[in-house]
Symmetry: C2
Amino acid sequence: MTPSVRIKTDLDIRSFHPQSKTLMGPGPSDVSARVLKALGQTTLGHLDPDFTDLMDELKQLLGYAFQTDNKLTFAVSAPGSAGMETAFVNLVEPGDKVIVCINGVFGSRMKENVERIGGIAVVVADEWGSPVDPEKVETVLKANPDAKFVAFVHAETSTGVLSDAATLCRLAREHGCMSIVDTVTSLGGSPLFVDDWGIDAVYSGSQKCLSAPPGLSPVSFSSLAVKTIRERKTKVQSWFLDLNLVMGYWDGQGGRTYHHTAPVNAMYALHEALVMLQEEGLDAAWARHTAMHERLRDGLQELGIDYLVNPESRLPQLNSVLIPDQYVNEEAAIRRKLLDEHHLEIGAGLGTLAGKVWRIGLMGYGASQKNVDYCLQALRQVL
Amino acid sequence: MTPSVRIKTDLDIRSFHPQSKTLMGPGPSDVSARVLKALGQTTLGHLDPDFTDLMDELKQLLGYAFQTDNKLTFAVSAPGSAGMETAFVNLVEPGDKVIVCINGVFGSRMKENVERIGGIAVVVADEWGSPVDPEKVETVLKANPDAKFVAFVHAETSTGVLSDAATLCRLAREHGCMSIVDTVTSLGGSPLFVDDWGIDAVYSGSQKCLSAPPGLSPVSFSSLAVKTIRERKTKVQSWFLDLNLVMGYWDGQGGRTYHHTAPVNAMYALHEALVMLQEEGLDAAWARHTAMHERLRDGLQELGIDYLVNPESRLPQLNSVLIPDQYVNEEAAIRRKLLDEHHLEIGAGLGTLAGKVWRIGLMGYGASQKNVDYCLQALRQVL
C-alpha cells in the first residue's frame, strides 16, 4: 500500500561552507563575528520564559533604535518586504485613499501593497535620484482632503536618496493623515526620530545598518495607528501579519498567546546587533556612517567616479555612483571580477538605473575604514 | 532643527546567552550542533552565485524530503503559518469554495485563511483527537460539486493525530478538486509521498522533524497548482507571498529577479538539516521516529500515563498524553518544574485540549534514545 521511498541517485549534496566575502552592496551588510555567534546559540522554545524575556528586551532595544516610546514596537518574523506589508494591510482598508510618494523601487512596491488591499493610491512621483518633494506632497494633500495616509521611503535603497521625513510627516499630520514610512535602509545609519517626527507606522530590515542577518523586519506603530488597527471595520486580509493577533504574542501583559513560531535564533542575532548599537550609541553610529561615506567619496573622486545624487540628499550608507562611460558595457563583468578576485560584493542598479549605477553600501558593521579602503583598492585594480 | 538622541537611562541590556534546554514540545525541536554551526556561518548576499547554488541544492533536497519532482519546491522566507498562507492566497480566489477539514487548531486556521481571501469554507468537522473521516469528506464532496479545493492537516500538531492523506487526496482528485495539505509536523517524521499521493499544494516548517531553527516554511506545488496560479483572474492579495513574483527569484532559469532579501543564514541551516536527512535516509528517519515513540509509550505506560489518540492514528513525533487526574490542577507547575529543574520543555494542550493533555515531541534530531530516557526520568522525578 505504502509506496517505497525513491532515493534520487543523482543526489549527493554536501555541507555548504561559504567563502567569506565583503558585503558592500545594498544589503545584507557584513555581519560581525559577535552577531554570528549569537545566531548560532542553542535554540529555545518560542514560549520559553528566557526567550520571552529576550523579546521584551528586543522591544526596548528597538525603541531606542527607532527613538520611540511606542508600545507596539517589535520585529516581524519575516524580511523587510513583509514589514512593509504588515504596515499596509493592518492600517489600510478597502477604499481608503493613500498618498504614495514614488522616487524609486520601494515607493512602487508601496503602491502595489495599497492596490492589493483595494485601497486607492494617489501617486506623487519624483525622479529616481531625487528626494520626495514636500511641495508636491502638500499640493496633493490639499487636492485630496479624503486621503487617510501618506506613505514614503525615508532612505531609497534603489537610488541612495534621503528624503525629509520630518517635514513629510508634519505635512501629513497637518492634513489629518497618518504617515507610513519605510526606514529599511535608514534605521541605525541616518538620524531617525519616530516620536519627534510623529511617524505613525514605520518598518525596517535587520540586514542593513543593523548588520544582523536578513529575515526580520523591525516595526513600530503609534498609539493612533494601534487604535486604527483595533477599530478596523474589516478583518486584516493576512492572518500571518494581523497585528490584532500578533500583539497577543508580543505583548507580555496578561500572558502570551501562541500565534506563530518565532524565528528564535534570528532574534538572538538581532538582539546582539542592537546591544552593539546601544554600546556604540546611536549618534556615534550615525557619525561613523557619515565619516566612512566621506572617506569613500573622496577616494571615488580620485578614481573619477561621480555620484547620482546631489550632496544634500545623499545617503551615507548607500552610495549610488554613476558607472563611468568606458565601463558601462562591462559593468556586470566588473562586479563579477570584484566578487571572484576580491570576494567583494557591490550592488547593481535596479529598475531604470540598471546598467547606469553601482550601489556601494556602507552599512552598520560594514561602515568601517577597512571596508572603505579595501573597496577603493579593489576598484583601482579592476578598473 | 534635528532633535537630540534620547538615551534611555534605564537601558542596560547585555548579550543574551541561553541555557541549553531539551526541546520536547510541539516544536521547535532540538537543533544539532552541526546545524547551529551551519547557521552561524558568514552571511552571503542573497544574489551571490554561491548562495543561489545553495538555493538550487535546497530545492533538490526538499524534493527528496517531500518525495516530489515538482519544479516549484522551495522554502518560503517565513515560518509555517506563512507557508499556509502562501498556499491559500495563491490558489484560492474570492468566491472559490474550499472544503476545509477541521480536527484541531490548524484546520481552524485554514478556514481563517480561506475566509480572509473571500473564499467560501465548507467545514468537515471531526473530534479533536480523531483523524479526518474520509467518508464525511466524500459526502461533502458529493454535496458540493462546485468545490475547487480540499484542505486538511496531515499531522495535527495540536492533537497528535495522523490523517490518511493518500485517501483524502485521492477523493479530492476523483471529485475534480485540488488538495492543500499541511505537513508542518509530518515532513521528515512520517511517511509522506507528495507525488504518489497526488498532493497539489503542501507546506511545512523548518523547526519540527527537520530540526532546523524556526523561520522557514518548505513548500511544494504540483504543475496543476502552478498552472492555476499563473492563470488567476485576480492578483494574489499578498505581494510578499505572491508566487508569480517569488518564482522569479527561486527559478534559476534565465536569471533571477530580486523580490525580497532571503534569510540567508536560516537557509544554510535548513540546507544542513536536509543534508543530514539525506545521509540518514528518509525511511530510516521515519523508522527512528516510530522506534522512539514506542520506547516513550512503553515508559509512559509504566507511569500510568495514557494517550489521547487511538494507536492507529497516533503521530510518533507528537505524543498527546492525558494528564492524570491527580495532576490536572498543577499541570502548568509541573511543566515549569520540568523546565526549571530539568531544562526540559514539553508542550501544553492547545484550544479545547488546554489543561487536559501534554504534548511530548519526538521530532527530528530530538527523536533520540537519550531524549526519551531523559524525559521519562524527569517525569518520574517530578510526578
